[in-house]
């Protein structure tokens, strides 16, 4: 997720957008299928540099430039399921990054109030 939204072009990176807090909530709350999909996407991203940049190492050992190339090739990979697994990772990362007050402020949008999660009990 850090590789997907590293920050730059005047925008904050996902690390500055309370990624840890978001992931804590996500793994507590999300549907099992979504959690499994996210983990699968992350594992795929880490283990697939051989398929994209020809290097038999996990993604975390790549240089920043190699990692960027790896990520972009995976996101546009001709094999649909590889592309989709990474797309899911990116979509969930986007939910965290794009809803953060610092990002919304740069887009001239007010911060989101908290999601109450409440419902009628009677």
């Amino acid at each position: 997720m850090v590789a997907i939204f590293p920050g730059g072009s005047g925008l904050p990176g996902i690390v500055e957008c309370d990624l840890d807090g978001f992931l804590d909530r996500f793994f507590q709350e999300a549907a099992l299928a979504l959690k499994l999909g996210l983990v699968a996407g992350a594992v795929l991203y880490q283990l697939s540099p051989l398929l994209t940049v020809g290097l038999p190492v996990p993604a975390f050992l790549l240089s920043e430039a190699q990692r960027e190339r790896h990520l972009n090739r995976l996101l546009s990979h001709p094999i649909y399921l590889l592309r989709q697994a990474c797309f899911l990772l990116k979509t969930v990362a986007g939910l965290c990054w794009g809803s953060h007050p610092s990002v919304r402020a740069l887009y001239a949008l007010p911060p989101y109030p908290p999601d109450p999660g409440s419902c009628r009990s009677t």
């Binding site: 730059g8 299928a33 794009g98 809803s99 908290p114």
Partner: protein, 501 residues
């Protein structure tokens, strides 16, 4: 009258009513209130919790968590994995849609008569009469000029310059203030989703509402439906709670959606040849236009502009659709610094979409964990329509002054200038190249006279059973080419009026 929310494990909860209505969206709520107004006692049984506007989330993540069915993880199983957009909350998908009201086109009834032997004259008149009523009761209005926002205004300009029919949408809203939060539920309470009107009215007329109560199966005595059975589910932790049984003295009305209704009837033991078949949709995807001046698409009505000019040929509906930054971030292609440079343009983007009046059809089956499994793939002819639609949307963007468009199609350049429109005409026809969604769903329990090819008769009664009706989009045997909420409500009103006549 009573509302029964989640109940933890303990003694079985039991209730009784004249009619049990499964689901509280457009079809279920309309069915319930029509029965209640006719003096029947109604129990609405809804899988999701009851959330008031003050309970609605603000973020897209919150909407997936609190309003969508299984976090929006239901996807089509076919060549492409396209999400099936549905809500799980009291009010159903009326809580998360853009409340677009379009009367059922006359040619839809002609087709139903021609292909499914559904008598046109009486059905059309009755459905339109109910639609008139809904328009009055739910205050259908054109999006007020001051609430349109720049994206909708630009679309009007583009449509006008290209001289095709296009218009400001009519929606179930009371003085929409353009907060741009339709998809997360309207916290301002302007959108007239059924949790704000028909469900409370049913309750006030002596009915029951069970929320967070997914129905596991319909219970029969012989071929007569006598109630529904299930377990409450904690809306936050999804833990299984107490068992419930709601007895129906006169009938059970299934209105759980085009995916859940056929799945529920399958797991209830119905072995009908047409059950789960003829599932249809209006698959849609969009093109971003990039403008010199900020568009700020999240300011103004989420959807405020549409065109049905191409509804008959080639079979398309064009619309605006504002999505928040967290969804745009996932939708723009690329990652890393490439993506950061792209999302920087967010304020200058306008998302407009095309929905395909697709003739392809698929199947729905009851899958693992009582979740519907949808098999659906667009055929070549429908993919050609989709491609034509994206070309039209891009053309409209350029007519409105966009400097570039971003089609988001695998294998195509990231963006295209006005002199590159021809690239879209040759875009791939493989569904896997597109990021699309299925938002308008039909079929699975289609109506018709022939028991071999339909599940219900033209009054929504399930062939071969007593006291069992279906009153939602799953009865609709063809696509409509327009937004379906009005038709669903009209049909549900018609069916229930017949039932109590």
């Amino acid at each position: 009258m009573s509302h029964h929310a989640y109940q933890p494990k303990g003694p079985r909860f039991e209730a009784e009513a004249d009619y049990v209505v499964v689901g509280s969206g457009a079809g279920g709520a309309m069915a319930a209130v029509t029965l209640a107004r006719a003096g029947q006692q109604v129990a609405i049984v809804e899988a999701g919790p009851w959330r008031e506007p003050k309970d609605y989330p603000s973020s897209a993540y919150g909407a997936l968590r609190d309003l969508f069915d299984e976090y929006g993880t239901t996807v089509t199983m076919g060549r492409a994995l396209w999400p099936v957009v549905q809500a799980r909350v009291v009010g159903g998908t009326t809580v998360i849609n853009s409340a677009i009201a379009v009367r059922t086109p006359s040619d839809v009834f002609d087709r139903w008569q021609r292909e499914f032997d559904i008598p046109r004259a009486e059905l059309a008149d009755s459905v339109w009469r109910h639609e008139d009523r809904v328009e009055r009761e739910l205050c259908v209005e054109e999006v007020p000029a001051g609430s349109l926002g720049r994206s909708n205004e630009l679309a009007l300009l583009g449509g006008k310059r290209l001289e095709y029919e296009n218009h400001v949408m009519r929606r179930y809203t009371k003085h929409c203030d353009g907060s741009g939060q339709c998809l997360q539920g309207c916290k301002a309470g302007k959108k007239q989703s059924t949790n704000l009107n028909y469900v409370p009215e049913t309750l006030s007329r002596g009915g029951h509402v069970l929320s967070s109560a997914p129905v596991e199966r319909v219970v029969f005595e012989g071929t007569r439906a006598i109630g529904v059975l299930g377990h409450f589910v904690d809306p936050l932790h999804r833990k299984r709670g107490a068992e419930f049984f709601v007895r129906a003295k006169k009938g059970v009305v299934i209105a759980a959606s085009a995916t859940h209704s056929p799945a529920l009837l399958q797991r209830s033991g119905l072995r009908h040849p047409a059950l789960g078949k003829f599932f249809r949709a209006h698959p849609g995807t969009g093109v971003f236009g990039v403008y010199d001046q900020p568009v700020d698409m999240n300011i103004g009505a989420t959807q405020g502009w549409a065109s049905i000019h191409y509804r008959d040929s080639p079979g398309l509906k064009l619309e605006t659709l504002a999505i928040p930054p967290e969804m745009v971030a996932g939708r723009l292609s690329g990652g890393g610094h490439t993506l950061m440079a792209r999302v920087k343009e967010f304020r200058h983007l306008a998302m407009w979409v095309c929905a395909v009046r697709a003739e392809s059809h698929g199947t729905v089956k009851n899958g693992f964990g009582n979740r519907p499994s949808v098999r659906y793939t667009l055929d070549r002819a429908d993919m050609e329509k989709l491609r034509t639609g994206l070309h039209l949307v891009a053309k409209t963007h350029f007519a409105a002054g966009a400097k570039r468009v971003i089609p988001g199609i695998q294998g195509l350049p990231y963006d295209l200038g006005p002199d590159q429109l021809h690239v879209l005409e040759n875009a791939p026809l493989d569904p896997r190249a597109y990021v699309a969604i299925l938002s308008h769903l039909f079929g699975g329990c289609v109506m018709g006279k022939d028991e071999r090819t339909s599940v219900c008769d033209p009054n929504g009664r399930v062939h071969g059973y007593q006291g069992l009706l279906v009153a939602d989009a799953s009865v609709i045997p063809s696509n409509l080419g327009v937004n379906p909420q009005h038709t669903i409500m009209g049909l549900a009103g018609h069916f229930m009026e017949r039932q109590v006549a």
